[in-house]
């Protein structure tokens, strides 16, 4: 009996709920697998998919978004061994699942904690509520490849944003496997789009894109590049999350800044009277 020949996985991009190869036809080798090397065109395609998904995702009820995120945590838990096989420590997978569950619970609470009635000096009903900013471009941290990735995607999408994520260039396999988790979690196509490849190629295209509302530079380690990306982002006044310090501890309580930076506050007035 000869040993069974394994069926290997092809690691591709994740755009609009589908798994295309890079339109450029390029790939690069990571851990003996060919991974798509995304082009600027792929980045633009991903923005189109993300924009198309905004209406449905931002318009979904907070309860529904919370349910879907929780479902993603269930799927992530179920694929634990796949991530371990890619070299992700078991503890990190556990932490990523827990992080995802933590954010899932925020979906229907954030508006209460960060919005509310304003006691204006006049006969008016006045209320403020947070809303998603729209399409968010994210440069994920180089490592931890899974916990870092989850820690930047979940806070952006739980409030109704859609994202285009440039995954860790050196450890992209976990990102593609996470895409498979998301594809089986009832998450509408286009809410999360994942690009693998060189940050220097995709990030400038995303930072300069006029249909992107915010950019999260967390994973940019080169200070000069971070500054250049922020300059590009200024063109349409994108909301900016600046790079995380190199020694950032991803295991501690993340706080709410990642969510609130990617939100807009809308205040509605109406007169009271009979």
């Amino acid at each position: 009996m000869s040993e069974r020949v394994a069926v290997r996985k092809t690691y591709k991009l994740f755009i609009g709920g589908k798994f295309p190869r890079s339109e450029s036809g390029r790939s690069y080798l990571v851990q003996s697998s060919n991974v798509s090397l995304a082009s600027r065109k792929d980045a633009r395609d991903a923005v189109v998919a993300a924009r198309a998904a905004v209406k449905g995702w931002a318009g979904a009820t907070a309860y529904n978004r919370g349910q879907i995120l929780y479902r993603a945590a269930e799927m992530l838990e179920g694929r634990r061994e796949q991530f371990v096989a890619l070299g992700i420590p078991g503890d990190e997978v556990d932490a990523a699942v827990d992080r995802w569950v933590w954010y899932a619970g925020w979906a229907d609470k954030l508006a209460q904690v960060y919005g509310g009635a304003n006691p204006v000096a006049g006969p008016y009903f006045n209320i403020s509520a947070p809303e998603p900013t729209g399409v968010v471009a994210v440069v994920a941290p180089e490592r931890p490849a899974l916990l870092g990735l989850v820690s930047v995607i979940a806070p952006a999408i739980v409030t109704g944003n859609t994202v285009v994520v440039a995954a860790s260039p050196s450890e992209p396999l976990a990102a593609v496997t996470l895409a498979e988790v998301l594809a089986t979690s009832d998450l509408p196509g286009g809410v999360v789009n994942i690009l693998t490849g060189a940050i220097t190629e995709t990030a400038p295209a995303l930072a300069a894109h006029m249909d992107v509302n915010a950019i999260d530079l967390t994973g940019v380690t080169d200070a000069t590049l971070a500054g250049e990306l922020e300059v590009k982002a200024a063109e349409n006044l994108k909301r900016v999350l600046r790079p995380a310090p190199a020694d950032h501890d991803w295991t501690v309580d993340p706080g709410v800044t990642r969510m609130t930076t990617l939100l807009e506050t809308k205040t509605v007035w109406h007169p009271k009277g009979v």
Binding site: V113, N118, V120, A226, E228, L237, T265, W269
Partner: protein, 476 residues
């Protein structure tokens, strides 16, 4: 039309000095290189005072004074004591409100009725509101012991000079920061009177510093490496430049920029109330309002009725002397702004929109522009896309709520919007879909210190007012 007897507010309450220095480290000082400029009354072109122009060295002095005050006095001071200083300032503003209102109208050109009844009450209320936060920051939702950022550089516009100062300084000081503020070059006078109020309140030296000047002064301030926080209100163009200049630094940035708000009138709206709202939306403060309702979207089947009523109402607007208590529309703030309004209005005519103004006699001297509406405007016209910042309304029509939303959101701006309808569910449906930071339903241009204000998209980021307004001045 009625004949009105003039009812001028007296200027005698204002004691104008021939010249003003910079307010640095608690004292009025001369600028290092001795430069100056004039502030004029836009209603008469009379020179009001000679104003010091701060250069890079003066900015340096102001930032170090603010740093020293932050490290030694204001930073370590208990919140309850900071609160007391802010309460003192609020009281002094109330006590001197007539003087401040008259000075604001002289320097800015806005009607005394607005500076007296809108600007000044809101200024005092803003200091009162944030005074109370100074010793309650741990309850503001930013952690149990949120820390200030440090030295804030603040650059403000000329449309609501003292109110914008209050929006900037009150939350900054409440949160424990010190500030260097640059007022607009055409309206520095109330900021300098505010500096006197700081002295009167015995506010520790260096907590508030005022540097006067134009764009170069603002740039030197914003780009100063000793600044931890930048807050700007003004044009989107300058806001973009500031966002570029702080890129790659540690400076925290909030921006409140331009707008091109849609004021949407449905066929079931009470027409008379809506018309009052339209007039208030675009002619309040001569249209020098970033959240002005400069695009009227009116449902097609009532467009004729609304326009007829609007024109009738506009014919009763009194344009003229800002210090006359009867005046509805005052002077355009500067020759440069008047030129911009003229240029864009001419473009409106050239692109095929139909222009209308009521018969309206304008004074010979000063900067004036009659209230104007354009009908037959399409979304491609410049007057439907660009911020005019003057008393000019572009009228467009729509048929369905979905079309109204589509047109309202068809702009890179997202500061404010108005909805006029009797149907509650429609208001909420519309409010959900409008991409704007403030939505006024069956009202317009309402402001309150407790109510967060600020934009979506290219109208900037961050909020001013309310609990939200503290976030930009805390290290969160």
């Amino acid at each position: 039309m009625f004949e009105y007897a003039p009812a001028p507010e007296s200027r005698s309450v204002v004691d104008l000095k021939p010249s003003y220095g910079l307010f640095i480290d608690g004292k009025f000082v001369d600028p290092t290189d001795g430069g100056s400029f004039k502030s004029i009354n836009p209603a008469s072109e009379e020179v009001l005072a000679e104003i010091a122009e701060a250069g890079a060295q003066d900015v340096e002095r102001a930032v170090s004074a603010a740093r020293k005050a932050y490290d030694k006095v204001w930073g370590p001071m208990p919140g309850r004591d900071r609160a007391k200083y802010l309460y003192r300032i609020a009281r002094l503003i109330q006590e001197r409100s007539r003087e401040l209102a008259v000075l604001e109208s002289l320097d800015n050109g806005k009607p005394i009725r607005e500076s007296r009844d809108v600007d000044l009450p809101l200024v005092a209320a803003h200091f009162f509101y944030y005074a109370g936060w100074a010793d309650k920051l741990g309850h503001a939702g930013f952690g149990s012991n949120p820390q200030p950022i440090g030295v804030a550089a603040q650059v403000i516009p000329w449309n609501f000079p003292l109110l914008m100062l209050a929006w900037k300084i009150a939350p900054a000081l409440a949160a424990g920061n010190t500030v260097v503020l640059k007022p607009a070059e055409t309206t520095p006078l109330t900021a300098l009177l505010f500096a006197e109020i700081c002295q009167q309140a015995d506010l520790p030296a260096g907590v508030v510093n005022i540097v006067t000047g134009a764009g170069d002064t603002g740039r030197a301030l914003v780009e100063h490496p000793g600044v931890d926080k930048v807050a700007f209100t003004g044009s989107t163009e300058v806001g973009r430049a500031i966002a570029r200049s702080v890129a790659g630094t540690r400076k925290k940035l909030t921006l409140e920029l331009g707008g091109k708000a849609a004021n949407i009138v449905f066929d079931d709206a009470p027409i008379d109330q809506a018309v009052e709202g339209i007039v208030n939306g675009i002619f309040f403060n001569q249209g020098h309002v970033c959240c002005a309702g400069s695009r009227l979207l009116v449902q097609e089947n009532v467009a004729d009725r609304v326009l007829e009523s609007l024109k009738r109402r506009m014919a009763h607007l009194r344009v003229g002397d800002p210090l006359d208590k009867n005046t509805d529309v005052g002077a355009i703030n500067s020759a440069a702004q008047l030129e911009r309004i003229r240029e864009l209005s001419d473009a409106g005519s050239a692109e095929g929109a139909e222009r209308w103004s009521p018969p309206c006699e304008l004074p010979d001297r000063g900067f004036w522009f009659a209230p104007t509406i354009f009908t037959g405007v399409t979304q491609a016209h410049r007057i439907a896309r660009e911020e005019i910042f003057g008393p000019v309304l572009s009228v467009l029509t729509f048929r369905t709520p979905a079309e109204a939303v589509e047109k309202a959101n068809n702009t890179p701006y997202g500061l404010s919007a108005g909805i006029w309808t009797d149907k509650g569910s429609r208001i909420l449906w519309m409010a959900d879909r409008l991409r704007a930071g403030v939505v006024w339903a069956n009202t317009f241009n309402k402001f309150d210190p407790t109510s967060p204000f600020g934009g979506y998209k290219e109208s900037g980021y961050g909020r001013e007012g309310g609990r939200h307004g503290l976030e930009g001045y805390l290290n969160v």
